[in-house]
Amino acid sequence: MDDKPHAHDLFVFLASTAHDMKNSISVVSGTLERLLADAAPGAPLHDSAAYPQMAQMLYQTRRLNDNLMQLLALYKEVGTPAYPLDIALADVAQLGAQVAASNRILLEAREIAFDIDAAPGLCWHLDEDLVIGVVNHAINNATRYTRDRIRLSMMAVDGMLEICVEDNGDGFPPALLAAGAVAGRARAVDFGANSAGLGLFFATEVAKMHTHRGAAGTVRLENGGPLNGGRFILRLP
């Protein structure tokens, strides 16, 4: 798209607007995190009325951020060679630590237990920023549907890296499971039908960008598993 001068100008404009919006979101979510830490149970300024409401605000801010990030990436044509894919070798446990670090305050505020199960020493070739973005979004979604527990597991299964975000809620509704089943197929996601469409579409695009020796990544939604709730599964070659 940026081969045409006009499209390039538009893109520069979009990028600088996004830059501004990101700054605002940074300040809002950073401030909320700090307020939450101060108002947490046991803290001197504990505020039992405001605490859950602030947690809800943080959740919504993160959704806003994820959606903005995904829209931007789609403008850059995710999944085509135009998107700046940046593959590098990453330590899977470190990746998990970073996901935990960016979600800790929100999970604490919502009293959700978070477990990480990462194969020690496992390294994988992936675009860390993209994968963390997808996993964070899945976790943010799960905070809304889980009862009180979310589990992130990352291990090698049949030569693929399997990253699984699961919760102990009621599981995905059938419509979403169906969307998850077709997410792998071209652009079949119906954006109008459900709000989860964009996130799922983005996750699928990210998965597909990861290719190795003819194999490409996939995304799957299912119910069940050890926590008997919803499971979001990202598999990368």
Partner: protein, 567 residues
Amino acid sequence: MITREQAVASTLKDVSWADKNYLIVDDFVGVRQLLRESLRNLGARNIDQASSGGEAMNLLGRIRYDVVLCDYNLGEGKNGQQVLEEARQRNLLNPSSVWMMVSAEKSTESVMGAAEHQPDAYLIKPITEGVLLTRLNRVWHKKQLFRPIDQAYGEKDYLRAARLCDEEIARGLENERANVHRIDLLRMKARLMEKSGQPVKAREAYDEVLAEREYQWARAGLAKIRMANGELEQARQLFQGVIAENRYYIDAYDQLALAYQQMGQLDEACSVLERAARLSPNSVPRQRHFGQVCLKLGNVGMAEKAFRKCIAIGEYSYVKTADAYLGLARVCGMKNDPKEALLLLGHVQREFPTDDVRLRAKITEGMVYHETGDYRRARKAGDELEEMLTVSPQRPDTATCLEMATLLFAVGVKDAPVELLCYVIRNNHDSLLLQDEVQQIFDKARMSEEGALYIRASKKEAADMMNQGVLLWKTGKLDEAIAWMRNARAALPNNLRILFNAAQILITAMQQNGYQIMLADEAIEVLLHVDRLQPGQQRFAQLMEQLALLAPDGSLSPPAEPAGANE
């Protein structure tokens, strides 16, 4: 569940983030406050802030920061990358300093390939305190691991650095736990082998990476080796393959253009550079390259655009170049506007007040007059050049010498160009390619036969001088050999073979009679000069290694210039 205090405490155990000096650079006050709060929660006390690139440069000039958090997009003026480049080039950062580039979204700069100065990490907003701490720790540990390698690299002991890479890779394999830095270590090793003039070993390292995963930088690395080996068509195909895989991998465009140039296909080179300049316009070297190719093609309009862009970027960048002004002056000459050309030439000499630029501006002036048919003023410029050459014994680089000789002949000066061409031959007495080029310049000046004699005599002069030094060395007269080579170097300051032999003799003397700091420094000076003239020589790497082994602590100091794993 882990609380914030516990999380901070457990990581603080390995790295003490509290005592470090921090600099936050962001044009948005809200983000600066946020980051400052986060750093304070990590225990940091010394936190400075800057709201623009200029302000950041002022602070960086006064204080050595351990950690810099710098936004990429800083509004008017320098951007984050330009701040980083200037800070590294002016040596304002310690090798251990951590530079984190912050941006609103995934930046293309992170995958461009050859950006000479890469930050230690890219962080995407919003940045939470937890993420900041995890990334700081990760970068810190990686820097620790690479520190000995970076040090050897900085001392230009490339072979030792490569050995350290091998050791680190082997250690990773022993531990059974896969080493997350293995790919980076192999990349570093490949680059070290290229710098040591050992392309076969560099290729092995790239192949090892590619056996595991398709990385564009490794593919491009293989292509560069092919190109250096003269396999231009294969190199071209490889570079095009890399671009097809990832059109943001800009380094491949620059290299592809070079391949086309060497194949004599200037039109193709030009269109590749045009695409690259559109994808990534803010690079001084790329716009310069683009402008120069356009100039060769006679495409005045595009050359003008490229050189003007080059000058505009240079306004905020530390990497500016006199070439853009000189090129633009040539463009003005071609457009029959000598007045504008002269203004530019005056400007470039104020901007870059060196003898070299003064000389090159004068050459350009002569060319502009010659081109616009003002033969009287062209001749006057030629006479002034001749005068400058008699005043100073210093001579510019080979390309400038040849350009100057061509011009001087064209405007009717005789002695000075002959002297220049003899100088070029004496300093490159074993390069057949250059001899052909010089002969052609003589041919054009209708001096074919005389020229051939000059070339032969200059070659002999250089060869005799070298052989005498080698003879003294081989017959064990080391002191005399050293003295002889010092004179030879003064007479022929850019002759690679003489320089290498001079260093070799100094090293032999120390191997026989023990380490002497004066001789060691002299040898280093000679070798660094060689590396500037022609990087990537195997003999350079070998002599640097021998020198380091002689030094009492096994390493050369002080480091010649800053360099690092992330350069």
